[in-house]
């Protein structure tokens, strides 16, 4: 009985600290998030669990509140900061292989645009969902997206733009991906104030995210499709008769 009681107490302590992590993110409270992350470690919560059931859960709630127009950009940005404050404590404690295992996303605001508020929110949401995000920042030249996607073996390039003339940059990325034979191996998603799903069709991008929350769910699908295609390719290569070799 006594033993059982202690276990229960530990359980409750762990749950309490996870709740605190969630709340810190929802409130956008940096100090509290950092403090709660340390408490989680001290209470013996697995770092991975603290990220998923604490920080990510918090961002998920924030996303829902944004969709419901209870939260707006300021609340979203502060929540992102709180999440990063917690991640700074927890990520170094994570076994290496777990980082980036879910997939890698190259993210940036296209050339000619310095507005990256939406991109920063997408970054926070993707990070919260466990993806490795390579943030190229704003005003990113076309070639940089492609170069980094190759270097990082990324599955997805995510491009954001607010201003119309920069849409041409997105088209150029698509054309260059095609020219390099990377279309399909690297998928693209676009978002931002001046793009839409019908524009995506014209540009030849693979997906459009109307906001950060939708971006995350679409990125998930894109990464799954890239991985599935790669697997299929591998299978068919293995089944291919060897005679083709040398012809």
């Amino acid at each position: 009985m006594e033993h059982r009681h202690v276990e229960d107490e530990m359980m409750t302590a762990k749950e309490e600290v996870l709740k605190k992590l969630v709340q810190a993110v929802v409130d956008g409270n940096l100090e509290l998030a950092e403090e709660a992350a340390r408490e989680a470690v001290n209470a013996g919560v697995e770092p991975y669990k603290a990220i998923i059931d604490g920080l990510s859960k918090g961002m998920e709630i924030v996303g829902e509140k944004y969709d419901a127009k209870e939260f707006f950009l300021p609340e979203l940005l502060l929540a992102g900061d709180a999440m990063y404050a917690g991640l700074n404590v927890l990520l170094p404690l994570l076994p290496k292989r777990e980082a980036g295992e879910k997939g890698t996303v190259i993210l940036g605001v296209v050339e000619g645009d310095i507005h990256d508020i939406g991109k920063n929110i997408v970054k926070a949401m993707l990070t919260a969902s466990g993806y490795k995000v390579i943030d190229l920042g704003k005003d990113v030249p076309v070639d940089e997206f492609i170069k980094r996607a190759k270097e990082e073996r990324a599955q997805v390039i995510a491009m954001s733009t607010l201003m119309t003339p920069t849409l041409l940059s997105i088209q150029t990325v698509e054309e260059k991906l095609k020219a390099e034979g990377l279309k399909g191996k690297v998928k693209t998603i676009i978002g931002g104030g001046s793009v839409s799903d019908s524009w995506r069709e014209r540009a030849g991008s693979d997906a459009y995210g109307k906001d950060a929350m939708e971006a995350v769910s679409k990125v998930k699908l894109l990464i799954e499709s890239v991985k599935a295609a790669a697997l299929q390719l591998k299978d068919s290569e293995e089944q291919k008769p060897k005679k083709e070799k040398g012809t």
Binding site: L77, G112, P165, R202
Partner: protein, 349 residues
Amino acid sequence: MNSDERLIAVLSGRKEEVDRLPVINSVGTYTMDAMKTFDAYWPAAHKDPRKMANLAMGLNRLAGLDNVTVPFELTLEAEVFGAPMEFFEDKIRWPSVKGFIAKKVSDLKFPDDVTKAGRVPVVCNAIRILKKELDGKVPIIAYINCPFTSIGSYLVDPVEFHKYLKSDPARVHEFFKETLPYYVNVASAFKEAGADIITFRDEGVSLDNISPKHFDEFVKPYLAKLISLVMPPRILHICGTLISGKLEIIRRMMECGAEAITMDEKTPMNEARALVDEYRPGFPIGGNISALMIHKGPVEAIRDSVRRAIEEGTDMVAPGCDFWIETPIQHIKALVNATIEYGTPPRRR
């Protein structure tokens, strides 16, 4: 009835006097076709009053739009306060600032005479040319990018700025309080140069970005003051979501004091009309044709969209944003022709 009489009548609440609804764009009357036809390319047209005037007149001349608008960008005010500019000399792009210069209000540069600062004189001179050449027949609209958007998107890093709304509201208020007279003076200079109408453009304050509570705290008091200090007629233009469920900023916009408000396709015209009429029946509103749709076409879709906007109660057929620069001139003609077809005579309610 000429374009000037038509638009001024609507803005004065005398819609019943017009021969047909006006079709305008109070935030941009240029496209690539206009740049080509009148040899008024960017970036030269941002800096040369003659070219600016030529480009502004482009769509009135080529397609019969009911107004001309200057300038063609959102960075004019930021430049006045010291932002380093990027004009993309060999490309057709919106001018941009090279970086964000301010974390606090004392980081801004305050010119002795704002009417001589940056490209304010260029716009004033372009307005003078337009005034002379249009001879009062086509209304000249000049716009300013209002404090929230120009400071929060072009002077302060928007990521930090939006966090300040919650973490350091005093800092935000200080920006707005200190800069407000400069916005008043720029708008008044445009007016004195001959602008018939001033548009107050504030893209960053819709429900897509900030809460109605923050609108009340950081936007409305300053917009109301700014608008009250500039001679009418005045239009308040905010793009993005203005109504969402029980939340709305339409009434708040009306309370800012302009003679009319305009919106984009993210706000359904019938909902806007209903809200507006509940508060002040017949208050002039404009919009809400998608600029992207006008760019893409086809012509039938443009006609349909104009018909619907008129049926749902717009007083001024207008795109919700600048025209996309590559919009074919036929599409703008379709916008104008559909307004003539469906907006003559204007509907009585």
